[in-house]
Symmetry: C2
Subunit: 258 residues, 2 copies
């Protein structure tokens, strides 16, 4: 029996591969696990995996490919990691080069790819509970240190969402059910207490004053390991471009516990 | 102000270091996280960490020390991993040598220690809910495969507990709240369905027939990575001896979610 219908995730990836989609992955294939990518030479893979283990909340590693293999056989077995992310950020010596729509031509036989759970994955579960996910959300650096490993180091990066008190409480309950994908918030309330830098969001527009009736809620963010890899100034390091995560075939709900 | 009282975990480790305790860690320092140890040369550390990542349910890595450092600074900062486990199993080429009460004399500068959550950690939470932990419990090999990494491979090892239906249901709820320490059971009921080998328990006496009114409940077990490391036939590999886990200073309840 032939498989009549492709998964929504597979259709989206096909459109990305064809170059028909080059924008953000937010809102695409809602309900499927999205992953941040960290692609680096095998020689750095132990230190990076150790960094992720030591900072699991921010760096939930969901799959690691074998060297040179561009197929995430657990999370999306018919995908190609060289072409199926809408936009790639390429770093040389820690300096970001021009973004690319694919990386087949610079792929190396010793590349190991880390697929790290993205907070975007919550969005489907949040939307079902009427917690809005399309606005009032920023990615911010903080003064919270992470635990280094080898050359990888840096502050924790967080996602801040503005929610009503009722939504905030519900969001804690829902995200806590994703312990392997950032889990519950790490902070709620005053951004200063974690040194969240509102002046320079890494993603999202400028942060306006907090409206009355809203509370800020902060989650450890999968951009954290990417920032640590930038800080390591490796000769070559590739990631998804911010907010252009890789879409897997895994239903986000399958990661839920509790 | 001086710290007047040492933690129960610290007192027990001091007694182990002095050679006053050489038996099982079951029932000791109840309520503190206990860890299985896997000690191996740095050259194998990436593959082993990857094996654990790929089989997270069975291999919850809670700390990895830097090469040559015998101090688990996160989980027990004043402990010494060379002396503070009651009994060590030493493997050469995959063959178990005579057990040791300490390993200071065979310690190597390139040794990396993995501290892996033990199911013993549940026991405090189970006992509080009147789920007995001191009997009717075995460690068994199964026919469930794990996902290999480098030379590390082998079947999933499970802990089987016999419980009343009421206890079984409660045990699912409680253990599910420890997602970073094996979590919920992987199976309940017929041992044959996962190929659990009742004839040769790895720990616990011979398995008698299941009494009427009891149900078998199975958890992924931290002996799994140890078995995978044995199968890798490394020149040198050291672990805790079965049921002689390393006692940390971390309250088990601090790992709870939900």
């Amino acid at each position: 029996m032939t498989k009549a219908l492709a998964l929504e995730s597979q259709k989206i990836r096909a459109a990305i591969r064809e170059g028909q989609i080059t924008g953000t992955s937010r809102g695409l294939a809602l309900g499927f696990l999205q992953c941040n990518l960290a692609i680096l030479p095998k020689v750095h893979a132990f230190d990076f995996l150790l960094y992720c283990q030591r900072n699991q909340r921010a760096c939930p590693v969901l799959e690691v490919t074998d060297p040179g293999v561009p197929i995430p056989r657990k999370l999306a077995p018919n995908a190609d990691l060289r072409t199926d992310c809408a936009r790639y950020a390429v770093y040389k010596g820690g300096v970001r080069q021009e973004d690319r729509l694919e990386i087949a031509d610079i792929w190396q036989d010793d590349f190991v790819t880390f697929l790290i759970g993205s907070g975007i994955t919550f969005d489907g579960a949040f939307e079902r509970e009427c917690i809005p996910t399309h606005e009032n959300r920023w990615v911010l650096a903080t003064r919270l240190p992470t635990e280094p490993a080898g050359p990888f180091h840096g502050p924790m990066i967080v996602t801040m969402r503005w929610l009503t008190p009722e939504q905030a409480i519900r969001s804690v309950q829902i995200s806590a059910r994703f312990p392997f994908n950032h889990g519950a918030p790490i902070h709620i309330g005053d951004p200063q207490e974690i040194g969240a830098d509102l002046s320079k969001p890494l993603f999202g527009g400028p942060v306006p004053p907090l409206p009355k009736g809203k509370v800020a809620v902060f989650w450890a963010c999968g951009v954290t390991p990417q920032a640590a890899a930038e800080n390591a100034r490796l000769p070559i390091f590739i990631s998804h471009a911010p907010a252009h995560s890789f879409i897997t075939d895994v239903p986000a709900d399958s990661l839920m516990t509790g």
